[in-house]
């Protein structure tokens, strides 16, 4: 179907295209700029363009492509960097140089590459197969076995399956005849419209924590595999760092990193460092499990909105293969702003701060695509979604942050005062929350430490007591505090500096395994508790505050544990001895003077 452009207003194009469906893709002008129909009014289609509309003229042609915005799903996705509509950026770079071209509609997956296909030995020709059935496997990377599944919606008799061998993604590897007698040719890849969630058999409860190796996240505000979380914070507070740390260290099978309206250099950082980093869980290069989607802040705004859906569709595709997938989106605020921009140009009625009324429902629908599921092929897989939120002026009451807070279960609130003091990660222990703590507790109790819950509770209580005491000090001065209260301030400071602060740049401490997380926190709390006991014997608090152990406790997290040396256990026993000695000395002194 062909039509004609009648109006150009930035990325919004009006065209005469009678009979076209909303959601359908179009090519604009002689260059073939990609766009999507977002509304129809009589014979006029309103189109959002994913590329700059510069130099298009009223009267130029529009060509309808007959399908909605879709992605290609098959081997060859991992390790790649795509733009917001799945164009392979490395390939565009080698073809066009430094700047992004317009109208080059290179498909997402490389056609030329051959893949070693191994058919599923359990399948027999003549057998009945349905969506999710495994046709075979392809080794996509050293660690990820790509499972070739019958696409959702196809069901029937398996007529033929290809023998083991090398195939490119367009080669037909199976024929299936459906109940109407139609024969489907299945290839190593298929297409899926990004705005439709991929189907699954049923939802399953999330049961395991997503371990990120970051103490404030794992121990204090846990997220589950299949959960939904958000990281709001003002600029420079550390949202991107948190998400990059998760991309680096999380115990997921696949990581999808969506750079949505953020900096180009942040993606380059990943592209340059991940290939040389090893996944602590598999020992392989991190890039083998990572996939990047980039619509940086200088790239066309409208594709920003699409990039989030492209990312989550790829995530669901690997989930359907039985993998635990994490998708981080930096930043969902830019996605919301893209919605606002398109809404504004369409003359829609804005409700709050210029955002359209459907902002909350779009956000909720997006986060609903997270979850742990039983797949069509009876596997267990999960999609965990983590969105950064960038509130204007750092004000958490603005619409995107406020709605996100209502939707997610884990909320890592980043604080400007903490970031200004270089307390990283700047996760605020008062404003953050996790609705998954009870489920996570079960896992920690069974796998790591029976006392996890009480340790965590004690630390949180100490932190909030200290916040209260700080308020008092700021009103009336430190002299108003009892020795026990002054020691509580020191205890909280030990927890903050010795446990919560964790530099992503520290080679040892960047990742902290769950055993170390618990051991460190327990060692610090034990030091605090022992001190409290000494105070009750009348030992002056100044005496305790003078102990060199306190500085040591703050450095403990950065000491490397080797096979023969466990610095935490070592510290723990030395602390015990030297405090016992202090107590002995003091008691003898008192007896002497009595």
């Amino acid at each position: 179907m062909q039509g004609r452009i009648t109006e150009l207003n930035g990325p919004i194009v009006t065209a005469e295209l009678p009979g076209i469906a909303t959601g359908e893709q179009v090519h604009l002008g002689a260059l073939g700029i990609v766009g999507e129909v977002i509304a129809r009014e009589r014979d006029e289609a309103i189109i959002q363009a994913y590329e700059s509309t510069e130099s298009l003229c009223p009267g130029d042609t529009v060509e309808a492509l007959g399908h909605p915005l879709s992605v290609e799903l098959g081997p060859g996705l991992l390790g790649q960097i795509f733009d917001g509509i799945q164009r392979p950026l490395e390939k565009l770079f080698s073809r066009h140089g430094d700047k992004l071209p317009r109208g080059d509609n290179e498909p997402g997956l490389a056609r030329e590459r051959g893949w070693a296909f191994e058919p599923n030995p359990a399948l027999k020709e003549g057998q009945h197969v349905a969506g999710g059935a495994q046709l075979g496997t392809v080794p996509e990377t050293e660690t990820i076995e790509h499972r070739i599944l019958v696409p959702p919606g196809i069901e029937g008799e398996l007529l033929e399956i290809a023998p083991a061998g090398s195939y490119n993604i367009e080669n037909v590897i199976a024929h299936v005849r459906d109940t109407h007698g139609d024969i489907h040719e299945l290839q190593l890849f298929h297409r899926w419209p990004v705005r439709h969630a991929r189907p699954y058999k049923q939802r399953d409860n999330a049961v395991a924590p997503l371990l990120t190796g970051q103490r404030i996240l794992d121990t204090f505000f846990p997220l589950l595999k299949g959960g939904k979380g958000a990281v709001p914070g003002p600029f420079g507070a550390g949202k991107t760092m948190v998400q990059q740390q998760i991309a680096r260290w999380a115990d997921a099978d696949i990581v999808i990193y969506v750079g949505c309206g953020e900096r180009g250099n942040e993606l380059v950082d990943i592209l340059e460092t991940f290939p040389n980093l090893t996944d602590p869980h598999t020992g392989r290069s991190l890039m083998e499990r990572t996939l990047l989607i980039a619509n940086t802040s200088n790239m066309p705004v409208v594709a920003r909105e699409a990039s989030i859906y492209v990312g989550v569709t790829l995530a669901e595709y690997y989930r359907d293969q039985g993998y635990d997938v994490v998708m981080v989106a930096d930043s969902t605020s830019r996605w919301a702003e893209a919605l606002r921009e398109v809404g504004g140009r369409l003359g829609e009625m804005p409700v709050e701060e210029g955002y359209p009324a459907y902002l909350a429902s779009r956000l909720a629908a997006f986060y609903e695509r997270a979850g742990r599921v039983e797949t069509l092929g009876d596997r267990r897989g999960s999609v965990t979604l983590i969105g950064a939120v960038s509130p204007p002026g750092g004000d958490f009451s603005e619409p995107v942050t406020a709605h996100t807070k209502d939707i997610v279960e884990t909320f890592w609130a980043l604080s400007k005062p903490l970031a200004d003091a270089r307390h990283y990660p700047a996760v605020d222990w008062t404003d953050s929350f996790s609705g998954y703590a009870a489920v996570a507790a079960r896992w920690w109790k069974e796998e790591i430490s029976p006392d996890w819950e009480s340790t965590r509770a004690e630390a949180l209580a100490l932190l909030s007591q200290a916040d209260e005491l700080t308020r008092i000090v700021n009103l009336v001065g430190p002299e108003a505090l009892s020795p026990a209260q002054r020691w509580a301030l020191e205890g909280a400071s030990l927890v903050k500096q010795g446990v919560l602060q964790q530099s992503a740049l520290d080679p040892v401490d960047s990742y902290c395994d769950p055993h170390k997380q618990v051991a460190l926190l327990q060692a610090v709390l034990k030091l605090y508790d022992t001190g409290r006991e000494l105070l009750s014997h009348g030992i002056p608090v100044q005496e305790l505050l003078r102990q060199p152990l306190l500085a040591e406790a703050r450095r403990l997290k950065g000491l490397e544990s080797k096979d023969d040396a466990d610095p935490i256990a070592d510290f723990d026993s030395r602390a015990e001895n030297s405090l016992a000695e202090l107590r002995g000395q003091y008691l003898r002194q008192q007896e002497g003077s009595a």
Partner: protein
């Protein structure tokens, strides 16, 4: 069509012209406008329908009589002419000479809007630039290819600081090898003269390309000026292999111009009347800084952003902070105390510092000592706050030490003066000298090895008896 002149102007207001459509005119196309006095102006098509064209006129629409105005469509988007001779020259926002010298001659012309850089083409910036300013080099290091704005306020010495950076910036141990692109919007004649004299005095005038729009020049020209200037910078960096330092001042003037045109167009406002696309628009400008794979040159950008009523949460500094790779924030309080440069340390940040400092770049202890200074200064500010409530005499002796540390840090480290340029080694040594005012066990962000090597304990200082 390039040669046909049309008399098709229906209306002109607020810098915009409404024209009856001419077939075949594309979005973004450059337009030449001749008014009734024969004066030429330049415009650009920003909206096009089959009946109507909307053109923004960079010289504004004052004194335009629609019936007697002729327009010519140039058949291409906005281009500027590029040649090595742009260095040493002064242009206006649309790239015409303002220095009474002839137009540049060259076949090389580029679209000022450029296309976005492919993220896969970028190279990560990691080369430390020594600016000679301790508060920047030591705590908020700048690297080649970074965009690091100065957040300032009216009356604060951002111009002096920008000029000082231009004068002193170099790779450690090397002579300065920067070419400079200077883009000024809404600047007063005095300020412009200040910069010119500064460039002249530091002998860089021949290495500067200036793009100037003064306070009494047309407002709408400010919308294209940074794009013109950055197109020149890209040419110098990526065609001519130069390291380019771009100083843009003042982005707040740019954003006001954008708001003015957006309001005239009827765009939906978001915060404080600025259009919702301000973020993306600013990003198109800022993201042109950087490095490109396999290219020798680089674009390092130091934009000046003034914060209306010193408010860092105002949309312009706020959105800038969300795009740039950190910010240097100036403080009125320090300025009033006579500290120069009055850099407010806690809210200042350089995000690219992590890969440009330490072993192989500056000095091995740099990352830890910087982090320690931040932590100790944050504590000093807390104590100062406490002292203002309960009185300094009530403070514990350790808190007293923090108070003293805070004052000498501001006076000696931050307040280094306009003339002094310090090497990074001097800056780091000064960090240690100041930290040594604090008890050793308070310094837990540095390692034991750092302390053994650099901490100056009083005992060691005392002459051996």
């Amino acid at each position: 069509m390039k040669d046909i002149e049309y008399r098709c102007v229906d209306a002109a207001r607020g810098g915009l012209m409404f024209l009856r459509a001419v077939p075949g005119v594309g979005l973004g196309e450059r337009v030449r406008v001749v008014d009734s006095h024969g004066q030429e102006r330049t415009g650009q098509v920003i909206r096009a329908t089959e009946e109507l064209l909307l053109v923004q006129v960079f010289e504004g629409t004052d004194h335009l009589n629609p019936e007697e105005t002729w327009v010519r469509f140039l058949g291409e988007p906005f281009h500027i002419t590029l040649a090595p001779g742009i260095l040493g020259r002064v242009f206006n926002g649309i790239g015409q000479p303002r220095d009474q010298r002839p137009e540049l001659l060259s076949n090389l012309r580029r679209n000022v809007n450029g296309s976005p850089v492919n993220p896969a083409a970028r190279a990560y910036p990691r080369e430390f630039i020594e600016t000679g300013v301790s508060a920047i080099d030591g705590l908020n290091s700048l690297v080649r290819g970074q965009k690091l704005p100065i957040f300032s306020g009216s009356g604060l010495p951002h111009n002096e600081l920008a000029a000082q950076i231009v004068r002193q910036a170099r790779l450690p141990g090397e002579e300065s090898d920067f070419a400079i692109v200077f883009a000024a919007m809404g600047m007063s004649h005095n300020e412009a003269r200040f910069f010119e004299e500064n460039f002249e005095a530091s002998g860089v005038l021949g290495k500067v390309a200036m793009f100037i729009n003064l306070a009494d020049d047309p407002v709408i020209e400010r919308l294209i000026l940074p794009r013109t200037a950055l197109t020149a910078a890209e040419y110098l960096a990526f065609d001519r292999d130069m390291h380019v330092l771009v100083v843009i001042t003042d982005m707040t003037q740019y954003a006001s111009a954008l708001r003015e045109v957006a309001t005239a167009k009827g765009d939906v406002p978001s915060r404080k009347g600025y259009p919702g696309y301000l973020y993306s628009d600013l990003a198109e400008i800022y993201e042109r800084a950087g490095r490109i794979k396999a290219r020798h040159g680089s674009i390092t950008m130091v934009p000046v952003v003034s914060m209306p009523s010193d408010d860092i949460t105002h949309p312009i500094p706020d959105l800038t902070g969300y795009i740039t790779e950190g910010q240097i924030v100036l403080s009125r309080e320090l300025h009033n105390q006579g500290v120069y440069p009055p850099i407010n340390i806690p809210p200042s940040l350089s995000r690219l510092m992590k890969d440009g400092i330490g072993k192989d770049h500056t000095r091995e202890d740099h990352p830890r000592v910087a982090s320690q200074i931040y932590a100790s200064y944050a504590r000093a500010l807390e104590v100062r706050n406490l002292a203002s409530i309960i009185g300094a005499e009530e403070l514990s002796s350790s808190d007293q030490q923090y108070l003293d540390f805070g004052s000498s840090f501001e006076a000696r480290f931050v307040g280094q003066g306009a003339e002094e340029g310090r090497s990074i080694g001097q800056t780091l040594d000064l960090c240690w000298e100041l930290l040594s005012q604090l008890p050793r066990q308070e310094l837990t962000r540095v390692s034991e090895a750092d302390l053994a090597r650099y901490y100056v304990s009083e005992r060691e200082e005392a002459p051996a008896a």
